[in-house]
Amino acid sequence: MGTGKASTPILIDDRLENSLADFKSSFNEMEAVSEANRCINCYGAPCISACPTHIDIPRFISRIANGHVAGAAKTILDSNILGLSCARSCPTEVLCEGACVYNSLDKKPILIGKLQRYATEYAYERNLKFYKPGNPSGKRVALVGAGPASLACAHELRKYGHETVILEKSTLPGGLNTQGIAPYKMKAQTSLREIEEITHMGVTFEYGRELGRNLDLKDLTRDYDAVFLGLGLGPDSRLDTPGSQLPHVRGAVEWIAQMKTRPSAETKAALQAVKTALIVGGGNTALDACRELKGLGVPKVVVSYRRGEAEMSGYKHEFKWAKQEGVEFWFHTLPVAFDTGRATLQKTSVTPEGQVVLVEGEKMDLEATLVLVATGQSKLDRLLGELKIDRTTGRTDSTKVFAGGDLLNGGKEVVNAVAEGKAAALLIHESLASRPASPSKGATRG
C-alpha cells in the first residue's frame, strides 16, 4: 500500500459473507408489476418526503407498472446515484414504506425497497448509462474518503464538469457500503458494481491516502479548488472492561468488514470454533452483527445491552427479526470482565437521572469465545485540526471545505450520506461558479 494512483480495487471472490442468502427476495417481473399496480400514486406523496434523497417514488413505481423499467431506474438514480444499494440496505420500514398511506388504511405498505431493487437491477444488468460528465469546468475537487457521501458528491460534481479525485485510506472504495452492510441485505460486489458507474463518469480514485498520515488538509485546500470531507467514522469504540485487550474481544465494525471482504479461509475457521458469541451494544451494528453470526451458524448468540428494550437505538423490525432467528437478548446487563473463553456480566439498573449503574452481587458468567463490541465508533474530528463544521449545512469555516456523511451526521444510513454528499456538491458547484480556478489548476499530486 502506498500513495498509489488509481488502481483497480480487487475483491476476493471467496468471502464468508457469500454464505448468507438474501433476507428479502427479489421481485420477478410479474411480482414487480403487480406490486407497482397496488400503488395509488399519491400527490406530494409522504414516501418522497420520508426518503432523505427525495426519490420521486410514485413516478418510478408507475413507470414499472407501465412497462418502462429503464425510466423507473433513471427516476431513482436522478435522485440517488446509490439507488441500487439503498434499495437493499435502507431501513425502508422506517423511511419510505413507513410513511406509505396504506399503513393508515391497515393495508400492507407498498414494498418500495423491493421495487427499487427491481428497477435498478434491471438497469445495471443491461448496463444502461444515464449520465455523462458535464463540459470541463477547469475546476478540481478532492474528496476525502470513498464512502457513499463522497461517491454521491463526486458523481454530482462530474455532471457539472468538475474534475474529481477521491482519496481513500483503504484499498476498496465504498466505505461501509462495501465493508459494513449486512450480507443478507447486500454483498460487497454489489457496492463495487454500483461504483463502476461513478468511475464511468470520470471520477478518479487514489487508494492508501489517509488524512493525518500521508494527506494534509492544508495541502488539499491549496492544491484543489474545493475539498469534500467524507471520512466517515473511525475505528470501533473499545470498552475499558478488564480483558478487553484479549484477541477474542473485537470491534464489531472491524469484524464485519473482515467477514465481508477478506478471504473466507481467514474468517471461517475461527468462527467454526465459536459455540457462543457475545455482542455488546443495543444499536443497529449490534443487531446486524448478531444476525450475521446466527446466519453463519454460531449456535448461541447473546446481545448484552446495558439498558432496556425500549431504549435500544436499533430498529424495532431488526430486533424482531433477530429474536425470530434465535438471538438472545440480555437487557440491563453489562460485561465487567473478559477472560479467555469467558465473559462476566453484571446486572444494571437505571437511576431516575437516567444513569446506568451496576447492581451489586448479580453477576453471571457466559462461555463466550467471541465478543464483538458494538458500542459505537470513534469520531475523526481530530484529523481536521481547527476546522469547524456547520452540522446543519455541511459548510465549514473554510469557504473551500465542505463535509457530509457520517462525519457530519455522527453515523446514519447510506441514504443520508448520499443526500448530504449531493447537497454538498451543489454548494461546491455554487462556490466554484463564483470563483476563478485556483493557480494550481492541473497539478497532480501523489
Partner: protein, 427 residues
C-alpha cells in the same frame, strides 16, 4: 328465501341468469354442465350456415394489473353442422326440461328463416333470439348488425319470423347505432315478444407496438371485433334504461353487457331487464360464478324484502330521466372527514387539475400528531361534482353533504362566476 323463478316473455326459468349466445353455449356438453352449475337458461351459440373461423379470435383490455376489464372477439357464428347442433339441443331439452333453451339464429333469406325456425322448434327450443347484433364478419355479409342498424330491415325480418314461429321471439339489438330506441320500436312493431341487449360494440382493443398490427391479429392483419366485458356495462345499462323508459313493461328486455356478479344483475333488472345474460365473466371464470350470483341476489332480495324477481324489474326506471328534468337547485358540497383521511392528496390534485380548485391543504399541522397538511374543502367554491370522493381511496373519508341552494356556488354561478379566489392566490 326469495323465489328466483323468473317468467320472461312467456318463458319460465329457475332463475334470471341465462348464458348469452357465445362460446360458453357452443355444445350440448357445455350447456348441460352449465345447467348443473345453476344457470337458469342458455341462448345457444348462433345457428346459421356454418362458417370457418380464424385464429386468433380474442383480445383483452387489462387494467392496472387486473385481467380482462374489456374483451373483444372476431369469432363468427357456430362452425358446427346444423344437424349436430339440433341433435344436442334436443338432448339438452330432454334432460333439462325445466331449464330454458333459446335458439339464436342468423340466416339470410325468408326461406332459410322458415326452415331453421321449424328445425329449432322441433327440438324443443323455448324461444328464438334473432342475432341482429353481431358487428364483425357476419355484418359484411348483410347479416347481424347490418340488420340491427336498419330498422326497416329489422322490422321486416322480424315480421317473417313472427309469422312462422310458434314460440316467443326475442330480437337481439346492436349498440352500434345512435339511438337504440329506434330499432327497439321497430322490433315491437313487428310483434317481437322481447328484445335483448346489448350485443357487442365495434372495437379495436389494442395494437401490437412491435408489429404494428391491431389485436387480435390473424397473421399480419387484423379487423374490428365486438367489445364486451365489465367495461361495457355502463353503455348497456343506459340503453336498457332508455328502452325501458320508453316501452315500460310492453317490451320485455333481456339485459346483457358486462354482467359479472349479482350486483350487476340487479342493476340491470332495476333498470328494466326482466332477466340477464352473461358471457365474458363465464369465459374468464367458468360456469361456477352463477352460484354466487344466485346467493347474492337472494340475500339482497331477502334483505330488501322482495319475494319475486318481478318486483325488481324496472324499479329504477322512473328515476332515470332527461337532464332537463333534474333539480337544478339541489346543492351538494364535499366534506372531508379528517379522521379517515390518509393524506394521499389525490383529492387535492384531482380538484386542482380536473375539478374546480376548491380543495386546499391546511397549513396547520394535524391535531393527531401527523406532520402532514390536511386537505380542506372551500365550500364557497366547491361545485359539488364529487370527483374528490371518487378518487379517494379511504372509505368514508370524503362524503357529499347537502347545503341550502342560497349558500352554494350555484347561486353565485348563475350570476356569472369569473375567477375564483384560489386562482388569484396562486399568482
Amino acid at each position: 328465501m326469495a323465489d328466483l323463478t323468473t317468467r320472461f316473455a312467456g318463458i319460465t326459468s329457475p332463475n334470471p341468469f341465462w348464458l348469452a349466445s357465445a362460446p360458453p353455449t357452443n355444445t350440448g356438453g357445455q350447456v348441460m354442465r352449465a345447467f348443473d352449475a345453476g344457470w337458469g337458461g342458455a341462448v345457444w351459440k348462433t345457428l346459421g350456415k356454418p362458417i370457418e373461423n380464424v385464429t386468433s379470435r380474442f383480445g383483452a383490455l387489462d387494467f392496472a394489473g387486473r385481467k380482462i376489464m374489456g374483451f373483444n372477439n372476431i369469432e363468427l357464428i357456430t362452425d358446427r353442422a346444423i344437424e349436430i347442433n339440433l341433435r344436442e339441443m334436443e338432448e339438452v331439452k330432454r334432460r333439462y326440461p325445466k331449464h330454458s333453451l333459446i335458439a339464436s339464429l342468423m340466416v339470410e333469406t325468408r326461406e332459410e328463416w322458415k326452415t331453421i325456425i321449424r328445425q329449432v322448434e322441433e327440438v324443443g327450443s323455448d324461444a328464438i333470439e334473432l342475432n341482429f347484433g353481431c358487428p364483425h364478419g357476419m355484418c359484411e355479409r348483410g347479416m347481424g348488425s347490418a340488420v340491427g342498424q336498419e330498422p326497416k330491415v329489422l322490422e321486416e325480418i322480424t315480421s317473417w319470423v313472427k309469422s312462422y314461429a310458434k314460440i316467443p321471439v326475442i330480437v337481439k339489438l346492436t349498440p352500434n347505432i345512435s339511438d337504440v330506441t329506434v330499432p327497439a320500436a321497430a322490433a315491437r312493431r313487428a310483434g317481437a315478444d322481447a328484445v335483448s341487449l346489448i350485443n357487442t360494440i365495434k372495437s379495436v382493443i389494442s395494437v401490437d407496438l412491435d408489429r404494428f398490427v391491431p389485436v387480435p391479429s390473424v397473421g399480419d392483419k387484423s379487423t374490428n371485433g365486438g367489445y364486451c366485458g365489465p367495461a361495457v356495462k355502463p353503455i348497456a345499462l343506459n340503453m336498457v334504461g332508455q328502452i325501458a323508459r320508453e316501452n315500460g313493461s310492453a317490451l320485455p328486455i333481456s339485459g346483457i353487457g358486462g354482467i359479472s356478479n349479482w350486483r350487476d344483475a340487479v342493476e340491470f333488472m332495476v333498470m328494466g331487464s326482466g332477466n340477464v345474460q352473461v358471457c365474458t365473466a363465464v369465459m374468464h371464470y367458468g360456469y361456477r360464478i352463477v352460484e354466487d350470483m344466485i346467493q347474492g341476489m337472494s340475500a339482497y332480495m331477502d334483505e330488501k324484502g322482495f319475494t319475486n324477481t318481478s318486483e325488481l324489474v324496472g324499479r329504477a326506471v322512473g328515476n332515470f330521466t332527461e337532464w332537463g328534468a333534474l333539480d337544478q337547485r339541489h346543492s351538494l358540497v364535499a366534506a372531508i372527514h379528517q379522521s379517515a383521511c390518509i393524506g394521499c392528496n389525490l383529492c387535492v390534485v384531482a380538484c386542482d387539475d380536473g375539478g374546480h380548485q376548491c380543495i386546499r391543504l391546511n397549513p396547520e399541522l394535524k391535531a393527531d400528531g401527523h406532520t402532514r397538511k390536511a386537505p380542506i374543502v372551500d365550500e364557497q367554491e366547491c361545485v359539488g361534482c364529487n370527483l374528490c370522493m371518487l378518487v379517494c381511496p379511504s372509505p368514508g373519508a370524503i362524503t357529499m353533504k347537502e347545503i341550502p341552494f342560497e349558500q352554494h356556488y350555484h347561486a353565485r354561478a348563475y350570476k356569472g362566476r369569473t375567477t375564483g379566489p384560489y386562482a388569484q392566490n396562486r399568482k
